[in-house]
């Protein structure tokens, strides 16, 4: 922090952790690092503990947390891909998120247990914890989180910041209009001097999940079957568009519907990530045909080129009143006239879907058409898609390691004295 010649640098690391819970994944890691240590799917597999291979039983670790002691009906929680993506009879996949905030606290606790035990590998009472939250997080949910961290995990300090604010920080802005295209929703939140304007924020339920659902419909209409990857024993090399030849694996009986759906959704997402492309302007068959296609091979071995479909697929993200450009315009026009110039001048784009190729360019273009011409329009998006997806986490990492931020934490002492009621005051 302070250099040899008395210079004062901006950073001071105090071993803080940053958690960024989302509908798609939970990002967790140490503050002051540039990427999260782990990016864990935001679901928990809950299943009977009966069918566990021996090898895993020898190492009882944080991966598999046990609840209940009776051997008969004990439940296990399977977290993170290595545990979760294994076919297990009776394992239900449940999410703890709902409407942008944590909803199932028991499951979320399991997730935090896992984070501390397997990702951080250090006792929770040593690390101040900074959490991100969606702008709409309700007061009970915020207070519950503080309570959990202080009372169960004995965190020395805790802080909550709106993810839009952090995404702006990650882009070096304290005033910005943050467009976050996540899994469950797309939102536009004005941020002024590091404070999110809650009443001006807007959102639409169009996001990565919607895109994946759209991909599913599209593939069904094209009569392409998405076989679950875990069910394939082997496949033959075939020519393009030829009928797939494969042998199926014998799977354990009793795989739950929720788990199968979850696995399939991941595959549709993968398809989207590889194939989907956002066209420069509204979909136009003639220009879309000119762009070379992208080859994709499905788990069963079937493969083909996808041409104009790639562009058609993403049009669902730009529907008139649901798309990001519309959200931005309505969020800005809900702001005070004095703030608008600054907001148009720094539009920050983040979230997983913002990493889709062409997305940022398309939004920039549509905004240029919508922004009042008296304003200078400037959009910011980190060049790497991963940096866009992790923008909120990175912002948290920056914030938690700034020297002058260290006075902001709600310490355990303060919590003991003031209770969770002070959360509204301390973490605006």
């Amino acid at each position: 922090m302070s250099g040899p010649n008395g210079m004062l640098y901006g950073g001071d690391e105090i071993g803080a952790l940053v958690f960024d819970p989302g509908h798609h994944s939970l990002r967790v890691g140490y503050a002051q690092e540039d990427t999260p240590k782990a990016d864990i799917p935001a679901v928990v597999g809950v299943g009977p503990a009966t069918h566990i291979p021996d090898a895993e039983e020898k190492v009882p670790d944080g991966n598999i947390t046990q609840s209940g002691t009776k051997a008969g009906n004990e439940l296990r929680h399977y977290i993170d891909v290595t545990e979760l993506h294994v076919p297990r009879p009776g394992m239900e996949v449940q999410t703890y998120m709902k409407d942008g905030q944590v909803d199932n606290w028991d499951l979320f606790e399991k997730m935090l247990d896992y984070c501390y035990a397997k990702v951080i590998r250090s006792p929770s009472e040593h690390h101040p914890a900074l959490f991100t939250e969606a702008v709409w997080t309700t007061r009970p949910a915020r207070e519950k989180l503080a309570e959990l961290l202080f009372e169960k995990y004995q965190a020395p300090a805790f802080f909550l910041v709106k993810n839009a604010v952090l995404a702006a920080f990650a882009n070096g802005k304290s005033t910005a209009l943050v467009v976050d295209a996540g899994a469950s929703q797309t939102s536009a939140v004005p941020v002024i001097d590091g404070y999110a304007l809650v009443s001006a924020a807007v959102r639409s339920p169009v996001g990565g999940d919607h895109l994946a659902a759209q991909a599913k419909t599209m593939l069904t209409n094209m009569h392409i079957q998405m076989l679950p990857i875990y069910s394939i024993q082997s496949k033959e090399v075939i020519r393009e568009r030829e009928r797939a030849r494969y042998t199926l694996k014998t799977l354990p009986a009793g795989l739950t519907h929720s788990w199968q759906q979850y696995m399939l959704k991941r595959q549709y997402e993968d398809f989207c990530h590889c194939v989907a492309q956002v066209s420069e302007s509204a979909y136009d068959e003639r220009t879309a045909v000119l762009v070379p296609g992208v080859h994709y091979e499905f788990p069963g071995g079937y493969h083909q080129d996808f041409g104009p479909e790639r562009f058609k697929l993403t049009e669902c993200l730009f529907e008139q009143t649901l798309g990001a450009p519309h959200l931005v315009t309505s969020a800005v026009s809900a702001c005070d006239a004095d703030a608008r110039v600054a907001l148009w001048g720094s539009i920050v784009m983040c979230g997983g879907v913002a990493g889709a190729s062409g997305w940022a360019e398309r939004v920039g273009r549509e905004l240029a058409n919508r922004a009042p011409s008296s304003h200078r329009l400037k959009t910011h998006a980190p060049p790497a898609p991963l940096e866009r997806r992790f923008a909120a986490w990175i912002g948290g990492s920056i914030l938690a390691s700034i020297g002058s931020f260290q006075q902001m934490w709600i310490s355990s002492q303060e919590y003991d004295e003031g209770g969770k009621g002070q959360l509204e005051r301390k973490c605006p």
Binding site: M1, A157, Q406, Q407, E414, E417, P428
Partner: protein, 466 residues
């Protein structure tokens, strides 16, 4: 060639010959070839297999032991840090910016003595006025605001450091009615003003003392509201409106350019006329020319404004056309030599600066003036005393005017003579008597044509001076 032989490990024939290389490295080369030759690929062994055992030449083999026996590197040991590595410890620290004495840990040099947390100095807070219950009742009571609401406002101002946009956003709409930012600001600054009148204030942001006199910031909510309204209207313009405005602006620019052009031409005309007045130049010849030039129809715009403007200009032109008739009697020379710029008011400057001809005076004229001065035996750059400056400038101005008039006169003479010749050519045998009043030549006699041209230069040169 030798390189290829080297690569193929064939001893090249020139090895034995004396060359610069063989003198310098002679012994080494020989040695190399001896060793290289000594390991020969056994018969029947694949080249690839042999290559694993023996490299092409031994020099490529990495040494098994450090073979650096020279002193070169040992003498100057690379020292990156002059000091010993200093220890860092994970140490607890206290942040004076916090009120709760919470202890956090960070890395710090073990040798550094514990001092105040350096980042605490950035803990800055705005000072917000405070009031007691009785003060409120005495001074701050308002019809519009309850005390609870006022308290809430002051609390928000403290929490959000007077960021009224954020305060407005987080305003407790459940407990109090929705208010505009201007309302909030008006109330806050009103309180500040009232309180700073009645008590000495610890907050300084709304009161400034100018020359020992207190000035209280007054927030004009009405004006702000109007300003915002205008701002909003500006932002909410449709593309059509913006396009229209843009179009009008470019039209305006065009009109102004045209206007300037016309004014320039009118001025030229004016000059010509005044010169003609003094020199009895036939005006009618040139004026129609000029009007024709200015008359180029406004082909681009169909705008009413442009038309109206044109009409106005026409009127102006007409008046200038009538001018010669009027000025025939009263000869007023409007154009008067050189206009020297006024003395600049700021900064130090040399008086000789004042004698500089303004940049508008062309090279030709400068030369002519200097020529005249030389004829008059006057220094071109006299000592610039106040009086000399004045007189010198006046003289030159007059000279310039005289020159111009002379030119104009010559041109008129030329025209007159030309017309006379024309007349004589058309009516053979007749001569055109030119009245003496028109023959304004100084000595009264008509000079031959060639001489006139000599003095004036060519008529085109005359045009360029106009």
């Amino acid at each position: 060639m030798a390189d290829i032989l080297d690569i193929l490990d064939i001893e090249h024939p020139g090895a034995g010959e004396i060359s610069r290389d063989s003198i310098i490295h002679g012994d080494k080369i020989k040695k190399k070839y001896i060793t290289a030759k000594s390991v020969k690929r056994p018969e029947g062994m694949h080249r690839e297999v042999f290559a694993l055992l023996y490299n092409d030449s031994n020099k490529d083999l990495p040494p098994l032991l450090p073979t650096d026996s020279g002193k070169a590197y040992k003498q100057t040991k690379a020292k990156l840090g002059m000091r010993k590595a200093r220890k860092w410890t994970w140490a607890p620290f206290n942040n004076p910016a916090r009120k709760d004495n919470a202890v956090f840990h960070h890395w710090k040099r073990a040798s550094d003595e514990a001092k105040e947390y350096p980042f605490a100095q950035f803990n800055k807070q705005v000072s917000i006025p405070s009031y007691t219950e009785s003060e409120y009742n005495q001074y701050l009571k308002s019809e519009d605001w309850s005390q609870a609401e006022t308290d809430h406002l002051m609390d928000m101002c403290q929490r959000f450091d007077l960021r009224f946009i954020v305060i407005h956003d987080r305003w407790d709409r459940a407990a109090f009615r929705d208010r505009s930012i201007e309302d909030l600001k008006e109330r806050y600054y009103g309180i500040c003003a009232t309180l700073s009148k009645v008590k000495t204030n610890p907050w300084s942001n709304t009161v400034t003392t100018v020359n020992g006199e207190k000035r209280i910031y007054h927030y004009d909510a009405e004006h702000e509201k109007k300003r915002k309204e205008q701002l909003k209207r500006l932002f909410d313009r449709t593309q059509d409106q913006i396009d229209e405005e843009q179009m009008l602006l470019t039209e305006l620019k065009k009109i102004e350019a045209r206007k300037r052009e016309r004014e320039r031409k009118t001025q030229d005309l004016q000059k010509l006329i005044s010169r003609a007045d003094s020199g009895n130049m036939p005006v009618t010849n040139t004026v129609p020319n000029n009007t024709e030039a200015t008359h180029t129809p406004s082909n681009v715009s169909t705008n009413n404004i442009v038309r109206r403007h044109d009409r106005k200009l026409h009127k102006k032109k007409l008046s200038t056309q009538q001018r010669p008739v009027r000025t025939m009697e009263t000869v007023t020379v409007e154009w008067s030599g050189i206009k020297f710029p006024e003395a600049r008011s700021t900064g130090v400057w040399l008086r000789s600066q004042r004698m500089k001809l303004p940049p508008g005076v062309g090279q030709r004229k400068t030369k002519a003036i200097e020529q005249e001065l030389r004829l008059m035996n006057i220094d071109i750059a006299p000592t610039p005393t106040e009086a000399i400056c004045k007189h010198f400038n006046e003289l030159r101005s007059d000279l310039a005017l005289a020159l111009d008039l002379k030119n104009a006169l010559a041109a008129c003479e030329f025209d007159l003579q030309a017309l006379r010749h024309q007349y004589e050519a058309l009516n053979p045998g007749k001569t055109l008597p030119i009245p003496a009043s028109l023959c304004n030549t100084t000595d009264g006699e008509t000079k031959p044509m060639g001489e006139i041209i000599d003095v004036v230069g060519s008529p085109s040169a005359l045009n360029s001076t106009i």
